[in-house]
Symmetry: C2
Subunit: 186 residues, 2 copies
DNA sequence: GGAGTCATTCAACGACCGTAGAACGAAATT
DNA sequence: AATTTCGTTCTACGGTCGTTGAATGACTCC
């Protein structure tokens, strides 16, 4: 039986799968979907490429698993409240964006699945703006905000724009305060 | 001799090279560096893959030629003047970003050369912000502005975020006015 | 302890890629 | 008209990739 007695096989299997997922996330985030090969993931996880296929079925499915992130919707409220939530999420993203999110961001321009995930749920650190922004052109302003936040996280963690990559997160958030607030207001 | 008498061979050669470059730009912009194959470019230009190699030497060099853009520095001035220039460039980029720029943007996350071009000359439609922004944290604010503009152009032309892709450029520029102006001011 | 499950490896296939070099044929030069 | 140039194609090599299916051997269960 299972679910009661955990066999050593169960443990090993889960450990191996998570080791593969960790290395896959890292490589997807570092080099994107296309340049990350199943062979490289397997090597990094000290495992045979066939095992990766056995557990995850295909490269696409491996990416889907590696790119899973928790979606944390922005709660509705006044323009100021929404702005403060977004800036706090941005602050977290600047300090340490989850590797899974970076994998999606790195791949979004060349892998349709990654683009879909961004499009369907434009987010930074799983921040689903959704319908938290109301007023005139609410949907457009929401998209613009998503684009801005994506740009900043991209510039810092992936493009590594010289001064943006090194700057104090609080300083960046402070600079972006007026910009974000001006866009949450209808 | 040459440079005086233009032979039909000269004409044909230039025509073919430009046809190849046009198709290369289009494909690089649509699918990025890695997914664009020399074979596909050759087929689109109705030419043999070997001819592409013969004219451009390698895939990297083909990309370099296809991705060439004119750099148009932002001229220094008051914070308001710089902001107005940036917003005007953004407006142009929203209406019709050059294919060569889109090729660089599409490839910047997976092709090191494209990333270098963005980093060394963070631009949208060749807008080199350079040292046009002064004051406290001038360099950081310049990088943040680059990141914002990249995000918006990316969201509209490449990610095609639903409402951002369809919106009136003037409306978007209007929405971003306060954000851009708040960042040009020291 | 013997049968069976399953985590893991191994070897290989077929497809596609960038690239190189020989070959051909039409235009240019003399 | 003969010869050279060169735009263009053809064929092929070596490499890498995703994926498969059989083989192996350790663990599990009755």
């Amino acid at each position: 039986m299972n679910s009661v007695n955990e066999t050593t096989r169960d443990r090993r299997r889960v450990e191996t799968q998570e080791r593969i997922l960790t290395e896959a996330r890292r490589l997807f985030a570092e080099t994107g979907y296309d340049r990350t090969t199943i062979r490289a993931v397997a090597a990094a996880a000290q495992v045979d490429p066939g095992l990766v296929m056995h557990y995850f079925g295909s490269k696409q499915q491996l990416f889907a698993r590696a790119a899973e992130t928790e979606s944390r919707p922005i709660v509705e409220g006044t323009a100021e409240e929404v702005a403060e939530q977004l800036l706090e999420r941005l602050r977290e993203s600047l300090i340490d964006e989850p590797v899974a999110s970076l994998a999606v961001l790195r791949s979004m321009l060349t892998h349709p699945d990654a683009a879909d995930e961004i499009r369907g749920n434009a987010h930074v650190r799983g921040s689903n703006i959704g319908k938290a922004i109301h007023g005139v052109d609410g949907e457009l302003r929401s998209d613009v905000l998503s684009a801005l936040l994506i740009g900043v996280v991209l510039g810092r963690h992936l493009l590594k724009l010289d001064h943006l990559a090194d700057a104090d997160p609080d300083k960046i958030v402070e600079l972006l305060g007026p910009a974000v607030r001006s866009l949450t207001k209808g």
